[in-house]
């Protein structure tokens, strides 16, 4: 789950990371009021969960409150990469001398978090990593021990940070690690961390991605979820504990298990079709969940055929069959449906479906070929 810049920075601040004075606003008049309170120059920043806000004109400098109000009006009317801007952050403008990058993420291969820093902050850090990898300093953090003071000093020295800033850098690095650990984040990033003309370090921008699997420990963070970045059907799916991702094709898929769901998509493509979605009903799904999955798939107007591929393990074929029948009763689909049931209670499931208006398949390849033909308007009966 991604957090907005203002949410991320407020969390960082709780752990001792200095951030600019500022507040978030939903209207131009609020933005103007905040600018008035701050006095001096301010930055008006769109709060949307995509990169490239600056290039899209979503981050602007204002010299006075009136200008801040005008810019807020403009920015609040924008869409950036398809996402509407609903809030702006109005921050005191920093006098930037230098921009640094500082971030933490999980290193899968090393099986521990890694703190990364670069003296080349503010620009696309992935580009720096690609072009000049020697400019990125990496330090692995032992998940049992945490970030040690000397590690922060090593990073400061590694990015040639002037010595007078080492102490405050150490506080920021430790704070970022605490924020990361205590929030169960997968990413916590300050880009840029700036050295101001006054000689202070300050987190001018912030970004956090939280581990969805750990949100049960952080109900206050879970409430911060921004539903704008998700498709309505993806939100609906999460309500039922289904894993659903909408794609551009025309063959709807309902599968149990993530690996098998991906494979079903791949096999559809192999035989010349285009999957309309990824959908994993999970292990042990009952009839109600199956019916919900069905409604979600069919809510996509591009659908020309549906392929149901269930390999029973914990999931039972008869339960799935009951769900399909219940959903067909309710939704009355007008597209061909191809069903393949194998594994636990598959025989019982097939018997339940014997009289339904469905196309059955024996193998996955067979099912995919039938679905592709059906989507292209072929007659299969």
């Amino acid at each position: 789950m991604k957090l907005h810049e203002y949410q991320s920075k407020l969390i960082f601040a709780e752990y001792g990371v200095p951030i600019p004075k500022g507040r978030v606003a939903a209207t131009a008049s609020e933005a103007k009021q905040i600018a008035k309170e701050l006095g001096g120059r301010v930055v008006v920043k769109s709060q949307v969960l995509v990169g490239g806000r600056g290039k899209a004109g979503g981050i602007r400098l204002a010299k006075n409150p009136d200008e801040a109000g005008d810019l807020a009006t403009q920015i609040l009317g924008m869409e950036i990469k398809g996402l509407p801007v609903r809030k702006v952050l109005v921050d005191e403008a920093a006098n930037i001398e230098k921009e640094i990058y500082l971030g933490i993420t999980n290193d899968r291969a090393a099986r521990c978090p890694v703190m990364m820093a670069s003296s080349e902050g503010g620009v696309d850090i992935e580009e720096v990593a690609r072009e000049t990898p020697e400019k990125i300093i990496k330090v692995h953090i032992d998940p049992l021990m945490g970030l040690q003071g000397y590690q922060a000093r090593d990073i400061a020295a590694g990015i040639d940070l002037p010595r007078e800033h080492w102490r405050s850098f150490g506080v920021i690095a430790a704070g970022l690690w605490e924020a990361y650990k205590k929030s169960d984040a997968n990413l916590a990033e300050i880009n840029p961390l700036v050295i101001t003309a006054e000689g202070n370090l300050q987190a001018v921008d912030g970004k956090m991605v939280l581990d969805d699997n750990a949100l049960f420990r952080h109900p206050e963070l879970a409430d911060k979820r921004d539903l704008d970045i998700e498709d309505d059907s993806e939100i609906e799916a999460r309500k039922y504990g289904l894993s659903y991702i909408k794609l551009d094709g025309d063959i709807g898929c309902m599968v149990n298990g993530a690996g098998l769901a991906m494979t079903t998509m791949d096999v559809i493509k192999l035989f010349g079709g285009e999957p309309a979605n990824f959908l994993d009903i999970g292990g042990g799904a009952g009839a109600e969940k199956v019916a919900a999955a069905f409604r979600i798939i069919l809510s996509d107007k591009n659908i020309k055929a549906v392929l149901i591929n269930i390999f029973g393990g914990i999931t039972r074929g008869d339960e799935v069959a009951r769900g399909i029948l219940a959903a067909m009763e309710e939704v009355k689909p007008d597209v061909p449906m191809i069903v393949r049931l194998v594994g636990t209670n598959a025989e019982e499931g097939r018997q339940l479906l014997a009289n339904a208006d469905l196309i059955t398949a024996e193998t996955l390849a067979d099912a995919a070929q039938k679905a592709v033909a059906a989507a292209k308007g072929g007659n299969l009966k």
Binding site: N213, I245, G257, M262, D266, F278, G283, L364
Partner: protein
Amino acid sequence: MSILVDKNTKLIGQGITGREGLFHAQRMLEYGTNLVAGVTPGKGGEWILDGKVPVFDSVKLAKEATGATASVIFVPSRFAADAIFEAADAGIRLIVCIAEGIPVLDMMRVRNYLDQKDVRLVGPNCPGLLTPGEAQVGIIPGNIAITGDVGVVSRSGTLTYEVLYALKEKNMGVSTCVGIGGDPVNGTNFIDCLRLFELDPKTKKIVLIGEIGGTDEEQAAEFIRNNVTKPVVGFIAGQTAPPGKRMGHAGAIVQGGTGLAVDKIKALEDAGVRVAKHPEEIPELF
């Protein structure tokens, strides 16, 4: 012969008095698995599964009473890390964790702790182990595989069943099937299993089932090139998955140009692995 588990492996089940755990414990017993005890704090002294299996309050007590060396964990994800630590500290040597959705920082702590001990973890977010005809540890339906000489290692669950079933349809049996799980940080990996299969005299061929995300398949390919003499057939799920979208498994995501199926397939093919276009093609490639 087999790897990791056989009919003599003394197994306990943590969390097998719950609904899911009990269902699968029953199936493990029916399969012939040597399930000697269950562990549920607060239920010590009870007997479950028609009085066949005693329940203990802790792994330590269960191990002392039965001499168990392996544990299968059915507790929900939020309690799973604790259950793994408990098993490891009680001296269990093989831990199989089924739970899906363990926070990744929990798994990093688990993994870093276990690396300091002589303990093998399989999973989490995995279907477990199956040595056909001997032992079923986890949730793999026993009847979809027959005894034979193919070693199977997989990051997936139901996709593994699909492959076992495809092998059985062609009358090809399995020595041991290991589901290593779909999480970004797990215990036993491809290379561990490849090493064991290479050493196992009963295993003559190997199937490796990977998916998008991470670089485990690339590392496995490198290991195969240098260390594996037995024929390997592979399959990679997620060839059509769009970047930046997590495909169900916490580990199955293409990020920043890494983790792509096409790179994994190329790495495997360069190492001499025949990669199937779909799961049902796997038996034909040996």
